[in-house]
């Protein structure tokens, strides 16, 4: 009876050997980094350029010999702007591809869903999501966020609206985890500045008509509207507001009122629409590099993911090991104020290889973070649409 066990074990062992050999071989060869971006769904317009920006950095670094003598392999997954799909994709990246970092999660709901997978597995997560709760998760330092949180964004937006004379602001908000928290922050900020928030109509973003919602919000007789929307629902809202004859001020978020939305609507519908967004550092050489990859007007997320991959690679080089904990420990050390200022990864890698300290700042600005992973400072831009063209109103 006994011989059957060794035979079976031998068979199993024999089966396993090629896989093991393959795995160790691959690990010695390449450093694997995952990207998790919205290629489809409400954020689908942003994912592709975000990945393109990251791939440009990887290609440049690989052409210059890689990091620690190893090539970089970028594995890109689609989160479908959907937490379920995001978790499935993150599991694949972590369990199957064994990536050391996941870069680029966009929607706050997706980031919140995949974050625990990352910190449990000691994989670094770099995100562009603005939801406040994200950096307050018990992530033990495994989250780095390049997007300012929504409180900072709200404060800047309200200050701007008050400066333009808005006093009675009503809100139309897509149903998201932060539809209420953003409204409450605005309410508080407006009150402090002598204005008031008169109501928040929360709508189901998947609908193709918002006539009844528009009627409800206009009944509040606001002098300004704040549209807390995503691009597809903002398209419909702007049409329905125009049809209803509303010509007052309209404020919205930069990611919703992008060039593609402006191109898809007649000029009279978007005229005067003001949007705001955290801005990349327009004068930085890294920003210029993103421009050569993405085009003249790169969105802030592409700039941020450009920095995600740059920081990841520099942190690996600084730590001397390619692992989640190594990036976790070294990511703040590459922004050493005493080091040589660098904006290019290859330049930074050379300095690190020579044992020098570096102070990296990227396309989105200085890459410095609080202990919980929030970016410490950021520029904001306010744009207005005039005759179907977006014009910079203020950069501060």
């Amino acid at each position: 009876m006994t011989p059957s066990i060794p035979r079976r074990a031998a068979l199993l062992g024999g089966l396993a050997v090629p896989f093991l050999a393959n795995a160790t071989h691959a690990q010695a060869e390449t450093i694997r980094i995952g990207t998790l971006t919205p290629q489809t769904g409400a954020g689908g317009a942003y994912g592709p350029p975000m990945v393109k920006a990251m791939r440009a950095v990887v290609d440049e670094v690989n052409a210059a010999g890689g990091v620690l003598g190893r090539k970089i392999e970028l594995i890109s997954e689609d989160d479908e702007t959907n937490p379920d799909a995001g978790v499935r994709a993150a599991r694949k990246l972590i369990d199957v591809n064994r990536v050391v970092a996941v870069l680029g999660t966009w929607a706050s709901a997706v980031t919140t869903a995949v974050a625990p997978l990352c910190w449990e597995n000691k994989v670094m997560l770099f995100t562009v999501s603005g939801g406040d709760g994200i950096t307050r998760l018990p992530h033990q330092g495994y989250i780095i966020r390049t997007q300012p949180d929504s409180n900072l964004q709200s404060d800047r937006a309200v200050a701007f609206m008050l400066g333009q004379g808005a006093r009675k602001v009503a809100y139309l908000s897509a149903q998201t985890p932060f539809a209420v928290s953003i409204y409450e922050r605005h309410l508080q900020d407006l009150k402090a500045g002598g204005g008031q928030a008169v109501g928040n109509v929360i709508y189901d973003a998947s609908k193709t008509s918002f006539r009844s919602e528009v009627d409800q919000v206009l009944k509040l007789q606001p002098d300004s509207l704040f549209l807390n929307s995503y691009q597809p629902d903002l398209l419909v809202l702007l049409r329905d507001l125009f049809r209803a004859g509303y010509d007052g001020r309209r404020y919205t978020l930069g990611y919703a009122a992008n060039d593609k939305l402006i191109a898809a609507l007649p000029a009279e519908v978007t005229e005067g629409l003001v949007s705001y967004a955290p801005s990349p550092d327009l004068d930085s050489p890294a920003f210029k590099q993103v421009q050569t990859v993405i085009g003249a007007n790169p969105d802030p997320y592409s700039c941020q993911t450009f920095d995600h991959i740059s920081m990841t690679l520099l942190a690996i080089a600084k730590a001397g090991t390619a692992s989640g904990p190594a990036i976790h420990d070294a990511v703040r050390a590459i922004g050493n104020p005493a080091g040589t200022p660098v904006t290019s990864v290859t330049e930074g890698l050379k300095l690190l290889a020579a044992g020098k300290e570096i102070n990296y700042s990227g396309a989105s600005g200085p890459c410095k973070f609080t202990p919980i992973g929030d970016i410490t400072g950021c520029k904001f831009r306010f744009d207005v649409v005039q005759k179907g063209q977006s014009k910079l109103l203020q950069l501060s």
Binding site: S206, K207, S212, Q216, P232, L235, R243, A244, K260
Partner: protein
């Protein structure tokens, strides 16, 4: 209060008219082929793209673009049935339904591959609403474009009813829908009827998709966003019943709008579907359906 009621009923009628055309397409295919063809969503998207492309690239007016939307979506419908779904149908309605859902996702991604995710708008102005004064009651707001879209839906429905009632093809389709075995005994070619049902059904889906695109914009998810209310309309009306799909579309349209008076608009979809559960609990075969599901 009365004026608000009138306004939401009006809004519901207009959005119901938009849902009715794709719901008819879905129910027509169900009536003849006896399976829920979930690929209707991507055919709506295909129709919307066909419409927006001939409108913006070739300068066709909206009316002609609607015809293009019908023809292109109908042709894609016949092709996808011939190439994919026909082979799955003999394995039963569940297999065919799952196959159709998969096919729909593939088609949606083909559209995405060809045209990217960017929204596309029709080359048409957005018009301000008419305001109709009702004396002491107040004002009603009516969208000229929604009214046109509703008129286009009614015309499409009238043509379909005439086709089914007065043409030989239409009568053959009804015969197969009523009793496939008897129709086969009479020598009606089931494959040909299936092709025609697909052409008409998916063509109507494309037509409805373009109407929704006219009102919003066109992107790869255009059909997917409205497909649940479309299914709901067909089911509430009674699957396989064309007048039922029309009635169901108005029930869903008005139900969803009505709920915004009572509850927060973010619950609109849930209230709409709760109404559907109620209808199906009281009348499992749907409003005008002949057979229980």
């Amino acid at each position: 209060m009365l004026i608000e009621l009138l306004q939401v009923v009006l809004n519901g009628l207009l959005s119901g008219a938009q849902l009715a055309v794709p719901a008819i397409g879905f129910t027509t295919i169900y009536a003849v082929l006896r399976f829920p063809n979930f690929a209707v969503a991507s055919h709506m998207t295909v129709g919307a793209y066909a419409g927006v492309l001939v409108n913006t690239q070739l300068g066709w007016p909206a009316g002609l673009a609607l015809v293009a939307a019908f023809l292109v979506a109908g042709t894609v419908g016949v092709a996808s049935d011939t190439l994919v779904l026909r082979r799955l149908r003999p394995s039963g309605p569940l297999t065919a339904a799952i196959g159709a859902a998969a096919l729909g996702i593939v088609l949606e991604n083909i559209v995405r591959f060809c045209f990217a995710n960017d929204p596309r708008g029709f080359d048409l102005p957005v018009l301000r609403d008419w305001r109709v004064s009702l004396g002491a009651l107040g004002q009603l707001r009516i969208g000229p474009q929604q009214t046109e879209a509703a008129a286009a839906s009614l015309i499409a429905m009238a043509i379909l009813f005439a086709f089914l009632a007065f043409t030989r093809s239409g009568r053959m389709m009804r015969a197969v829908a009523d009793n496939p075995t008897l129709a086969a005994l009479k020598g009606i070619d089931a494959q040909m009827v299936a092709r025609r049902a697909n052409f008409v059904g998916m063509g109507l889906a494309g037509f409805g998709g373009m109407l929704i695109g006219l009102d919003t914009s066109v992107d790869p998810l255009t059909g997917y966003r409205v497909v649940l209310p479309v299914f709901a309309a067909a089911v509430v009306g009674g699957l396989g019943s064309i007048p039922g799909a029309v009635a169901g579309a108005f029930v869903v349209g008005i139900g969803e709008e009505f709920s915004t008076i009572v509850l927060d608009p973010s619950y609109r979809t849930a209230v709409g579907f709760a109404a559907i559960l109620l209808v199906l609990t009281l009348r499992p075969r749907g409003l005008l359906g002949e057979r229980a599901l």
